[in-house]
Amino acid sequence: MAIPAISFGQLLLLATLLRIGFFFFGLYQDEYMPVRYTDIDYLVFSDAAKYVYQGLSPYKRETYRYTPLLAWSLLPNAWGGFYVHFGKILFMVCDLLTGILIYKTLPKLIEHQKRIFLLAIWLLNPMVITISTRGSSESVLTCFIMLTVYYFMRQNFTLSALWLGLSIHLKIYPIIYIPAFLFCLSARGSPFTFVKNVPVLNWINLTNLWFLLVTLVSLGGCNYAMYQFYGYEFLEHSYFYHLTRIDHRHNFSLYNVMLYYASAWPHLSSDLLSLLDLLFNGIAQNIEKFAFGPQLFISAVIIPLTLAQSNLLACLFIQTFAFVTFNKVITSQYFIWFLIFLPHYLGTSTLTSKEHIARSCMMLLMWIMSQACWLLYAYKLEFLGESTFTDGLLKSSILFFLTNCYLLKQFIEYA
């Protein structure tokens, strides 16, 4: 049976209707069901917007650790009434815009129906729809990142760099894309004559230097403006907190249980600790710093050097996947970060060929199963009060991590 062909417009309409449906179901669930649909972060953004509306700092809201731009853009939320949903509508629009940009950046050589299928991975993805309709702001970031890619593909490197700087201002992690863009651009210009025989330095040319400069100006300009408004608390909550946090609460990260122990270390009686415990103390105490090592080495150095020049979008996908895999905090929302590039990756990878389709399905199954395993133990801890830290969460987060590493291996080999 042939799959009925649908146009881009029809897919977009279906995606819009689905989002509207999820949005209204969310309103119903919030009103009548014991577990709320709306993300707790949405309440944080909305409260921060209220403070801004009152002429105060958004950082008066505990746990608001984002750029003030987000609170500013949600100002209508503070007007009350139906406007409290303004943020969700904005996130849904950004989510759809991201889809449009994905469509526009997919290689033109891919046949139309395959492009529609790949686009559907984003536009009809229930995880993507749920995240934006619950009020998570990730889609604003994905939209900015796709604008970066869109202008880059159109060779408008200035606009691309401006959006990249703004993306990094929104969340720090897109900084890992700078090496990939720069290395990709190193093949699009001549090196400076005085370093053309110097390894590494001969990658530098006027194009990538300009790209770097505009990115830094864009990022620096946003940061300077926000610093002028909110001073040190902007830097502290938007940047320093994320660099130094020890997130002890359970999440998908491999480091999670280790970080729980590390956060408790200064409070544990030393007579309860073995010699080996004490030997590990140095590492565990600074794990939040050590964790950046392998994460940045793989996602910002090794992968760009391997893939940026041959397949930039596959490179961005694998970079992001690696960054999330090795991150010291992982929540489901982070998966959105690499999902925006999945259509591009699958569009060019041989993993979607008939020859490798079984392998692709197995990879997807492994990812879902290892995640489900962790979620089961998290549910037991969170809602049944069972202590599953060691027997459940530690083992399943190791399983999830190694599964992700295996997937990374496949992605790199089949890119």
Binding site: L43, Y261, I412
Partner: protein, 463 residues
């Protein structure tokens, strides 16, 4: 080193300045007869059963850095006043456990360390304990420390009627005086002899007249003054009838149900069967409130309040993420206003506990919410504040400080604590660190091997 503060034990044991007042209220069904009475002693025919309050007061200085200090302890789990109706005039219905309130003077604000040192000198002497500076929280107009662990009281005054049997204690030290009150709602008073200490002592033995009402309590009985004048050998005895308006009142309806539903890391404090508002003659508007003292193991997220609840005060740690072991403050004090007497679920969130090598759960106790109506008194409200039974002070007194002097309170819940099981990390740090590190190294190897394979393949192709 010279310390400007006069040590409290010196004061407690002083025989020159202390005044004693013992108030006994017994059931009006009991007959009381005195066997023997002198200028410094009183002996009853048989033990008299009732509620006893002992008040000791003396002049003192609170040190150079303290403006006021108040220590309140409640060891009773139930509302004694409901069990023993003769104790109705007394006001000891605050939250279970130890409560310390301290207010620095201007020098104390400037020299905080010296202020804390001064406070701890008093606490060490009175309770044998100290409170670290970080353990306090800033309450309405004072610092506040609370614990459900009750320390043993040291240096009790001699000749105490209730001695160690007190269920409630109220110690107040201001810049020029100190009072200590001990209370037991149901004890037996047999005799009182202060002949060897020559201190002024006043003993009142009363009963609540049958025609009293909840808002107007009439007491009749005798006051006996002992050691009033050392030269006279006769005690001073006065028949007394007076009326009082209690600030704290109790409904005849059963107490509201307060339970904890474990619900994993999010225990729910469930309040049901809340009695309707009272309708006494001397009150006007009544509003329903819940007062919570939550130790740091759990917290209430002010951004997740039920629709019919308003937060009027939230003091203490406001952090929504830190584990319990990273917090120095003892917890949070909350005053909530409830729109109606309908059932209410307050979702709390437990903080992560210290890892444990052998146990997978820790049991923490949280205080039951204090549920009450606060009503404006509209007639003779001055009598409430002037009553000898009223304990309202500038600082402390549980939720009293949040309300004006003309407020009366109707208690709807029993005191006590509820156990909460919190799952914790069980296992050895070595095993966890080794497993994590091994997985990390293996994961890096998997990724790098694929990069190597890709380069090899590329190299083969170009060759």
């Amino acid at each position: 080193m010279f310390h400007p503060y006069t040590f409290p034990h010196t004061i407690l044991l002083s025989t020159t300045t202390m005044r004693r007042r013992i108030t006994l209220i017994h059931s009006n069904a009991d007959e009381v007869s005195v066997k023997d009475i002198t200028s410094s002693s009183l002996v009853f025919d048989a033990g008299v059963n009732g509620a006893v309050e002992e008040k000791y007061s003396w002049s003192s200085t609170s040190g150079s850095y303290i403006s006021q200090l108040r220590v309140q302890i409640n060891r009773a789990h139930e509302l004694d006043h409901k069990l023993h109706n003769w104790s109705v005039p007394f006001a000891y219905s605050y939250q279970y456990g130890l409560h310390v309130y301290a207010q620095p003077n201007s020098a104390g604000i400037e020299h905080q360390k010296l202020f804390y040192d001064d406070v701890n000198v008093i606490l060490k002497d009175l309770l044998g304990m100290a409170v670290q500076p970080g353990n306090w929280i800033q309450s309405l107009n004072s610092l506040y420390y609370h614990s459900s662990e009750i320390p043993a009281l040291s240096n009790l005054p001699s000749h105490s009627v209730v001695a160690d049997l007190w269920t409630s204690l109220d110690y107040v030290q201001t810049s020029d005086s100190t009072t200590l009150k001990l209370f037991n709602p149901n004890t037996t008073f047999t005799s009182y002899d202060v002949s060897d200490i020559l201190e002024y002592a006043e003993v009142g033995v009363f009963t609540v007249e049958a025609h009293s009402s909840r808002d107007e309590v009439i007491l009749s009985g005798v006051r006996v003054i002992l050691n009033e004048n050392n030269e006279s050998s006769d005690p001073k005895i006065q028949r007394t009838v007076f009326h009082t308006k209690p600030r704290h009142r109790y409904l005849s309806a059963p107490s509201a149900n307060i339970l904890i539903d474990p619900k994993g890391l999010h225990p729910v404090l469930s309040i049901s069967l809340i009695p309707q508002a009272p309708a006494d003659h001397d009150i006007d508007t009544c509003k329903l409130f819940a007062y919570l003292t939550l130790n740091k193991s759990v917290f209430f997220d002010k951004y997740q309040i039920p629709e019919n609840v308003t937060i009027l005060a939230q003091h203490g740690t406001k952090d929504l993420e830190l584990p319990a072991y990273s917090l120095e403050e003892w917890g949070t004090e909350l005053l909530l206003e409830l729109d109606s007497a309908s059932d209410l679920d307050l979702t709390l969130h437990s903080r992560y506990q210290l890892p444990n090598k052998s146990a997978s759960n820790v049991t923490e106790t949280i205080d039951k919410a204090v549920l009450f109506y606060a009503c404006d008194a509209i007639s003779d409200s001055h009598i409430i504040s002037q009553s000898a039974f009223d304990n309202k002070q500038n600082i402390g007194g549980s939720f009293e400080g949040f309300f004006t002097d003309d407020c009366v309170f109707y208690h709807l819940s029993d005191r006590g604590t509820l156990p909460v099981e919190i799952p914790t990390l069980e296992g050895s740090a070595t095993m966890i660190n080794l497993a994590t590190t091994a997985a990390l190294i293996f994961g890096i190897f998997i990724v790098l091997s694929s990069v190597f394979t890709r380069f090899q393949r590329k190299k083969e192709k170009t060759e």
